[in-house]
Symmetry: C2
Subunit: 345 residues, 2 copies
């Protein structure tokens, strides 16, 4: 079986090796990465939340061993494991606290139990910060001193890296920029987290669908209506397809998303002023590969330029992320590598 | 002449010594500080912007020597000088770029010219970040790992310190949280910087006065009207006095300011998640010393609690800053001390 694009054979790999784990509500991705951040092998196992956290920790241990073997390595070749976990969490204490997508795992010592089952030293990090570190290390952030990654999916994830350090925050809530308030009014949109006016309530996939439905209900003419009538489920992907065929409403909704996102981006620029802002996740409308994706990025850049100071508009790069779904485990492995290098001098 | 509160005599001081300079549009404050962050002596000279940047650099050199002598020390006892400068600036290059309040000083190599005139090694920093570092080092932030300081005055300054590091940003625009967008709508208030919807356009002293005038013009009944009719100039201080006498509009404006500020605070909490948020500057309505100041703080805390996650509402401390106008030079001296310690191991 040929290796996927960007993956290398273990004969080319540069030691030491690391394993990254990207824990999600549906699946757990585990990947083996070399010292240059190149993946050797990746596998995915279902999270099976209902089996509980201890069971998952044990299966993560097994998945790590399986991935290492499949990469052609021995476990003794692995210097350290990195685990990116969804929040809420307490990074310093190694706890997963009250995870929305991992019901019943509250206050579980995920760091130490996963380290035990891996039988390897382990670095514990927030999943969004790990993904940001992945892009920072070897993705589209690799040429920058500092970045913020916005991951557009069902929600909006964000991670900030400055000079190799993730902004974890005092309470492990650093980079929760999806929950930045961009509209303080009492009738602002409600975020899935329950608060009003958050960026995520305007620019996530969920809010995209909500805005689309509202527009259709208020009588907007759109080819989306036909597909919904045919039994399809409204989604940003559907809107992208219709926008490419010339549907005005779909294009309007996509541009609106870009402009809301730009507000969040400007706020990060005016708070931490990173060298680059990266946009990743499932909802990039094709990213750099399609004209629509490039239009989306261009709209973001234009709106940012109209809302920030000339020097920042000129110097801050806004680009798509490049690692896709691999960012999480590569970044987790990269953060394990940082700790390994600190500990070994 | 007795020393002001918090100041110490050089006999009690702990070497090494540092000098901090707080450069403003009206005056330049220079203070001598010991290794524990205790000020020994402070003096102030007018900025006299029209005389140009080189002239000011020379006068800062003289002011440093004067302050050192007045503190009872010799220049040879000073390990390093810190200079906090208004923006825009390029911290890495040591330039003041296009300073709004220092007309004609554009693109001046302020770091190197001031170091030359002081004849001492010099650390160059943004004034708001320097003030934040002062509070972090020895002010109300001294017990915290990370803080953000909001300085409420004509504008809104902000500085963020995490683990002894100021968030300067890639383009020296870190901590420009006064220019965070809190209302993205096309009819949002215009900030003095020219953009719409910024926090500063809602919660600064300038915007306070604007909101007050609008309320009075639209017919609000208030004792402010009588004082304006008597020839006084509307100000937050006047509103504080009237609020204390029971004027409803004044109190409403002050609470409104608190709630706008809370939005900016929540956004910083959801971006960098500091241990504490500190509120300083001229517009704190009396701060901890008056019932009104304490009500203002209480309103900020309540609004933040209603807009953020339970764990952050519970754990993030929101307090007044304590160093007042000394924060800038103490912080600049403190940052000089950081560099001195790095350089001397």
């Amino acid at each position: 079986m040929p290796l996927p694009h960007g993956y290398i054979d273990f004969h080319e790999a540069k030691a030491p090796f690391f394993v990254g784990i990207d824990l999600g509500g549906t699946s757990i991705k585990v990947g083996v990465v070399d010292d240059l951040g190149r993946p050797l092998h990746r596998l995915s196992v279902p999270t099976e939340v209902h089996r509980g956290a201890e069971d998952a920790a044990a299966r993560m241990g097994k998945a790590v061993r399986d991935a290492v073997e499949a990469a052609g390595l021995k476990t003794s070749a692995i210097a350290r494991v990195g685990l990116g976990s969804p929040g809420t969490m307490d990074i310093r204490q190694g706890l997963i606290v009250a995870p929305v997508n991992l019901k019943g795992w509250d206050n579980f010592p995920l760091r130490d139990r996963t380290a035990f089952h891996c039988d390897l030293p382990l670095t514990f990090e927030n999943d969004a910060n790990a993904a940001a570190y992945g892009e920072y290390w070897v993705g589209s952030g690799r040429d920058f001193q500092s970045i913020a990654l916005f991951t557009l999916g069902t929600g909006i994830g964000c991670g900030i890296i400055i000079d190799d350090f993730p902004i974890d925050g005092e309470n492990s809530h650093g980079g929760e920029c999806g929950h930045m308030i961009i509209d303080p009014s009492p009738d602002a949109r409600i975020c899935p987290c329950g608060f009003r006016g958050h960026l995520e309530a305007y620019a996530s996939a969920l809010s995209f669908v909500k805005r689309a439905k509202e527009a259709l209900e208020s009588g907007a003419v759109s080819s989306l209506s036909e597909r919904i009538a045919a039994g399809e489920t409204l989604s940003p992907l559907m809107a992208a397809e219709e926008a490419e065929k010339g549907d005005d409403l779909s294009l309007k909704l996509i541009f609106e998303t870009a402009r809301y996102l730009a507000v969040g981006i400007v706020n990060v620029m005016h708070t931490v002023d990173p060298s680059a802002i990266l946009i990743g996740g499932a909802m990039t409308f094709g990213g750099n590969k399609t004209p629509l994706g490039r239009q989306f990025l261009s709209e973001i850049r234009q709106e940012v330029a109209q809302r920030t100071f000339a020097v920042l508009a000129k110097k801050t790069k806004i680009e798509f992320a490049t690692l896709g779904g691999d960012a999480g485990f590569i970044g987790a492995a990269g953060m394990a590598r940082l700790d390994y290098r600190k500990l070994t001098g």
